[in-house]
Symmetry: C2
Subunit: 363 residues, 2 copies
């Protein structure tokens, strides 16, 4: 587990599950090995690459991949003034890919994440595991001590209420990382050599009412169920904070999933996180977040959405309102962020118009 799989090991038969229903969203590709390593698993899917930096630089995508690529100029052209809600020079720009996708499912991954091996040495098809997680229900209302009851060889244990065994639809699947763990800058500085070598063979539902730190490195979600909540905020160029894009999306997503009765899973699949980012740079990006989160997290823990918030966009607009009311006093940044949250939903609605459909349900 201390080494990534080689491309040959990774070349196990790809399971083309949901081939026409899933987009892979990648925020820039700096590493030429990245797509080669993932080729056996990713090639059947459509890629959406959102270039985070200088639009004049070109990203070389190897032959054989089906992809679309967006740079800053494209984002500005497509969204017009609403492009202000998409971060620049930061991987948070990836959420633009969620917005332009027309698929039901999204898998997003960073370009320093390679194929990991399971304890038997087999290359892990991360995408396949995410799909399994997303297609099986979640169980947020009661904890199952044998973890995901829907995995092979597992079930609900004695004492699990039968009325809750149907579970709820799974909105998001949060995967983990072998090798370099996702630590904050202070922990990176204190433990520069720590590697994650523990392969925990589990998937579990994060219980209702519990928040978690959602990492965007290796994440899949059901775009139809939760897409508009997956906004990665204002980070990078011109912003006072970085590395909280996925955290922000995670807090909003979890609060909305809890309100709407949707599930969030964490655990498998692992990817191999190849290198730690620079802890000094990270500290500069993070330090405001590190103290802001002491107020943000209680805010999200206490956030209550009214009953008439029955859709994700409605919930998200309501959250934006509450952010403005309650977090602006922490820093004027949150006032700007609250506005950007509204702009994000407006842009989402523009690119994803909801029309009436024959059976009366929104498409």
């Amino acid at each position: 587990m201390a080494e990534p799989a080689t491309a040959t090991q990774a070349a196990a038969p790809a399971v083309a599950l949901l081939k026409d229903e899933l987009d892979i969203v990648i925020p820039t590709i700096r590493n030429l090995d990245f797509l080669e390593m993932w080729r056996p698993f990713f090639q059947p899917y459509h890629l959406i690459i959102v270039q985070d930096g200088d639009p004049s630089k070109t990203i070389k995508v190897p032959e054989g991949f089906d992809y679309e690529l967006y740079n800053r100029n494209d984002i500005n052209r497509i969204l017009g003034p609403k492009a202000s809600c998409i971060s620049f020079k930061d991987s948070a720009c990836r959420c633009f890919g969620y917005m332009v996708s027309k698929k039901k499912y999204i898998f997003t991954i960073d370009d320093d994440c390679f194929v990991a091996k399971d304890p038997s040495g087999k290359a892990i098809n991360a995408l396949e595991q995410h799909i399994k997680n997303l297609l099986s229900p979640s169980t947020p209302f009661f904890f199952n001590t044998l973890y995901d009851p829907f995995r092979e060889g597992a079930d609900f244990v004695r004492g699990y209420p039968f009325s809750l065994r149907e579970g709820v639809p799974t909105a998001a699947s949060h995967g983990l990382w072998l090798n370099i763990p996702d630590y904050d800058a202070p922990t990176q500085l204190v433990k520069p050599l720590e590697k994650n070598t523990r392969y925990v063979d589990a998937v579990l539902t994060i219980p209702k009412g519990t928040l978690f730190p959602m990492c965007g490195m290796n994440l899949a979600f059901n775009r139809e169920l939760i897409g508009p909540a997956m906004y990665f905020g204002l980070m990078g160029d011109g912003q006072p904070i970085g590395r909280y894009d996925d955290m922000w999306a995670g807090w909003c997503t979890k609060v909305i999933c809890d309100h709407l009765g949707l599930g969030v899973k964490t655990g498998l699949p692992y990817i191999f996180h190849s290198k730690a980012s620079n802890p000094f740079v990270n500290l500069r990006k993070e330090y405001k977040g590190i103290y802001w989160q002491e107020e943000i997290i209680p805010f999200f823990q206490q956030a209550v959405l009214p009953k008439d918030c029955t859709t994700v966009p409605k919930c998200y607009i309501e959250l934006a309102k509450q952010v403005k009311e309650k977090l602006s006093k922490v820093d004027p940044y949150f006032d700007k962020l609250a506005d950007a949250m509204v702009t994000w939903i407006e842009a989402w609605d523009e690119l994803n118009p909801i029309g009436p459909v024959p059976n009366g349900k929104a498409a």
Copy 2:
């Protein structure tokens, strides 16, 4: 993982952690191999055996173990009329052992639980892992995606609030089972051949506000912190229900831990559960519990303890009051159970008198 360790494999050097601070409580020993198998790990500790059936039968404890044994006659003699709160002809009687212990920690295990092997084939010292779990803090207020941050090679991940990293004291450690999983009778009937072969190398805190099905097969707890909540109810002889003794204790314990700011962990260690109990007998014992739990669990999920409940006995008496008020309408059994909960606390107080100590804190 499909076979238990042999006694020789189990004979790894025993870690005599907390030797003078922990009692092992066992509800009857029918299986002569049981103590031999565990000898390398258990021999340094004191055993409390609570015989669940006919007092005229004698339990043979092999040479070399330090133990005390209680049968029904002993329980009646020690508790007098209050013995009514201790179940007869049911392993729920084990909680009498918690009451008579004078130690800080308790480990309780069933006699059909053997030493399991980890994936490398090494015999698992379950007690040592429980002690590690109990001696390190819990993190009930926010979920850590790399599981127990206090294990070697792990830490808090990016986005985990620093103010919550100290954690809270751990009150209970719930271990799991390889081979025969702890299923209810309907699941046993439907999946008679299912074995648990998945070794999940994780310990995690069950988040605040989340209930779980606590199994008494392989359980450790800090008696000083939570002992009086570990009442295993009225089961077995003369009672309309069985196999809910540990569940009842788990619901009460978790609600009280959440109220008092204590933690409950689940996961490692595994024991090897050797044989499934008879599903037809189990169904007879369980069937009332299976429908009652549909009302009991919402009751516990909604239970609120007043602020002046600052000790476990106070919390427990308050819970007993709420059980009487709200569950008696489900069945008259809960009226009787609520009374027994009060009797249990009275008996506990009698055997564990609290005297004033110099620094003004209760001993």
